[in-house]
């Protein structure tokens, strides 16, 4: 009897515990936005406020970011009964996880103004691109000028080599700060230059397990050039060190993206002095910037879809939205009039408009595959300088891509 009683009590307590979470109710007139990029939170809050004044729809923006596990936080948010109407997905991996709640936004006004939306074969247009980012060599232009390098003229491997030589000859600084510790730099960003240089067709071939699609010619030379002209021990150089190397005047350039300009500015550099040079190794990549969308806005189809839809349309299609982009220092992925103040952002926007853009093909790799597989390969190449083994390892990886 007592046993039964105690078991029953356990049960009651269990119900009481889970009961707290199941009071799901539909909220009216509120658009809940769950944001992943904490750095754009202030600008988004401001936009939400003006949007509420304009339309009367209340918007609640919640931001989670930095090192926090967004996936877990988002899942908790959904299960708490306070499911967000608008949330962020990072790419194919996230879309797979959230496929049951994503709304097809094919009728949204912005779809005509961009070619960077996330389209899933079965789910439709499920992601609105928030902004574009690009990477290459972010350089301190004063250092380039004093070495006699014009950043605009560097659009081939030979010219990059020449520029490095000039900077080295000048002797003030090392040409670049690269890293093989941060595997997202090597295993995602650097390797992507190879994918872009091999064209989409070649990359698809590689993805299906056939390494002959890759155009290796010259790629190991580019990576070798970065390895040998870099400051410090690449195996232990992390992102902060990379940034500090440029701001403290140890290196002229850093293999990073436009996101690093914010950190450089914090370290006391003038944004107006920062420029970007492309990473290229063959004709296909010559002078082009890899421009991609790191994350998308998605709509929960079980939420208030009409209001959510309008919110996103306003974000990328109104004067207030344009102000949001200026304030957040982001480059819109949807065509709109936005005032950008820093040269690197301007360069990226110009390249994007002029068609000098290459896709981020690495995002099509399975999650984390690039970092885990190519990361150690790049570090080995840095240590052994064995270009043949380096190329072979990249080619061999084709067989490991698990579908």
């Amino acid at each position: 009897m007592k046993k039964i009683l105690s078991v029953a009590m356990l049960g009651v307590l269990g119900v009481a515990l889970t009961g707290c979470g199941s009071t799901a109710g539909k909220k009216d007139d509120v658009v809940n936005v769950f944001n992943l990029k904490v750095e754009m939170d202030p600008a988004l809050q401001t936009f939400a406020k003006t949007y509420t004044e304009k339309t009367g729809t209340k918007v609640v923006v919640k931001s989670v970011g930095g090192g926090a596990d967004y996936g877990a936080a988002l899942k908790a948010e959904f299960e708490s009964g306070n499911a967000p109407d608008v949330f962020v997905v990072a790419g194919a991996g996230d879309v797979k996880i959230w496929k049951d709640v994503l709304l097809d936004m094919k009728d949204a006004k912005w779809t005509g103004n961009t070619d960077k939306e996330f389209v899933d074969e079965t789910l439709g247009t499920v992601g609105m691109p928030i902004g574009v980012e690009s990477y290459g060599l972010i350089c301190d232009n004063t250092k380039l000028k004093s070495a006699g390098v014009d950043y605009k003229s560097v659009d081939s491997l030979a010219k990059l080599e020449e520029a490095f030589k000039k900077i080295t000859a000048k002797g003030e600084v090392k040409p670049v700060s690269y890293t093989t510790k941060e595997t997202w730099v090597t295993g995602n960003h650097t390797i992507n230059i190879l994918f872009d240089g091999s064209t989409k067709a070649g990359f698809d071939k590689y993805m299906s397990g056939d390494a002959t699609g890759l155009k290796m010619e010259g790629f190991s030379k580019l990576v070798g050039l970065l390895n040998e002209n870099s400051v410090g021990d690449l195996s232990t150089t992390d992102y902060d060190t990379q940034v500090a190397n440029v701001s403290s005047g140890k290196a002229a350039c850093v293999h990073q993206g436009n996101w690093a300009t914010g950190n450089l500015e914090k370290n006391g550099m003038d944004l107006q002095n920062l420029v970007m040079m492309p990473l290229t190794y063959n004709e296909t990549t010559a002078g082009n910037f890899p421009i991609g969308v790191p994350s998308y806005m998605a709509i929960n189809k079980n939420g208030d879809t009409e209001k959510a839809m309008d919110f996103l349309e306003q974000l990328v299609g109104s004067a207030e939205g344009a102000k949001f982009y200026t304030e957040a220092k982001m480059i819109p992925a949807v065509k709109m009039e936005v005032e950008l103040t820093d040269p690197v952002s301007k360069q990226i926007m110009e390249a994007n408009n002029a068609g000098k853009a290459m896709p981020w093909l690495f995002t099509e790799l399975p999650d984390g595959f690039g970092m885990n597989t190519y990361g150690p390969v790049f570090d080995q190449f840095y240590k052994t300088k064995d270009a043949q083994a380096f190329e072979k390892a990249i080619q061999d990886a084709a067989a490991q891509i698990k579908k």
């Binding site: 885990n372 390969v377 570090d379």
Partner: protein, 270 residues
């Protein structure tokens, strides 16, 4: 045996905590390791031993297994040697004895992550200046660096166990040995060490489990790097089993395989 209602009532919080934080996750995890669970909303489907096959076929997993064993053996030896040495020093009857005990114990109070980042600075900035290369740059040296940091952190804790045990050795026995003409070394090997046997059981067990499970220090110190080659493949040099499990789950987003590896890890630890 008759247990009263009150007995169960008092036990309830612990039982509940145990079930919710250990039993349920363990059973769920065991089940998930046989499915294609991705951590999202999708219902996991049974795939049999596929995850285990995948995990066991990975070169990086084999490497992780070996490096974990090497790391653990090295740190068990190091920690126990250092801890025993320290314990001998602080039971000699020095002045400021309790101050030394507290000082040696102190590193254990620093959280693993913070400790890792402090040592990372020491290795990458300070040691790199002195030796012209950071110890964390070479995979073999990096393993020793990790062992050193772990020893620095954990030896103080193990020392306390030895201290208690040493203080519990009856002085009569030692004195009798002295009278019989036993030298210092002989006393240590034939009298003290056998009398410390029970302490060794505890410390060996603690260091074994602690070294195998070590995660936060490795994560913050090297995050698995630098690279090395193993069976013709480039792998992460200090990627121990726990790091492998973490990276498979959160970088490769392969929850099910990671779960399978955790179950294997549990199996190896047994």
């Amino acid at each position: 045996m008759k247990k009263s209602k009150v007995f169960w009532l008092f036990l309830l919080p612990s039982i509940l905590a145990f079930c919710l934080t250990l039993l349920v996750p363990f059973i769920l995890g065991f089940w998930y390791s046989f499915t294609d669970w991705s951590g999202g909303f999708s219902t996991p489907e049974f795939v049999g031993l596929e995850n285990y096959q995948y995990v066991l076929s990975k070169t990086s997993f084999h490497y992780a297994l070996i490096i974990t064993f090497i790391f653990s053996i090295l740190s068990i030896i190091m920690i126990n040697l250092v801890a025993f040495g320290l314990a001998k020093i602080v039971t000699k009857g020095l002045k400021l004895e309790s101050f030394y005990r507290a000082a040696f114990f102190l590193p254990n109070l620093i959280g693993g992550l913070i400790l890792g980042y402090i040592w990372q600075f020491l290795f990458n900035q300070v040691a790199a200046e002195i030796f012209a290369i950071s110890p964390l740059s070479n995979p073999t040296v990096a393993i020793f660096a990790l062992v050193c940091v772990l020893t620095w952190q954990y030896a103080g804790y193990i020392m306390m166990i030895y201290v208690t045990a040493i203080l519990n050795i009856p002085q009569e026995v030692i004195e009798a040995a002295k009278i019989d003409g036993a030298k210092k070394m002989q006393r240590l090997i034939h009298i003290e060490l056998p009398m410390l046997a029970s302490a060794f059981t505890v410390t060996l067990f603690l260091t074994l489990v602690n070294s195998f499970k070590q995660f936060d220090v490795i994560y913050s110190l090297t995050s698995g790097g630098p690279s090395t080659t193993f069976q013709g493949e480039a792998v992460m040099g200090t990627q121990t089993l726990t790091m492998w499990i973490y990276q498979t789950a959160y970088q490769l987003k392969d929850m099910a395989s990671s779960q399978a590896a955790s179950i294997l890890f549990l199996f190896y630890l047994q």
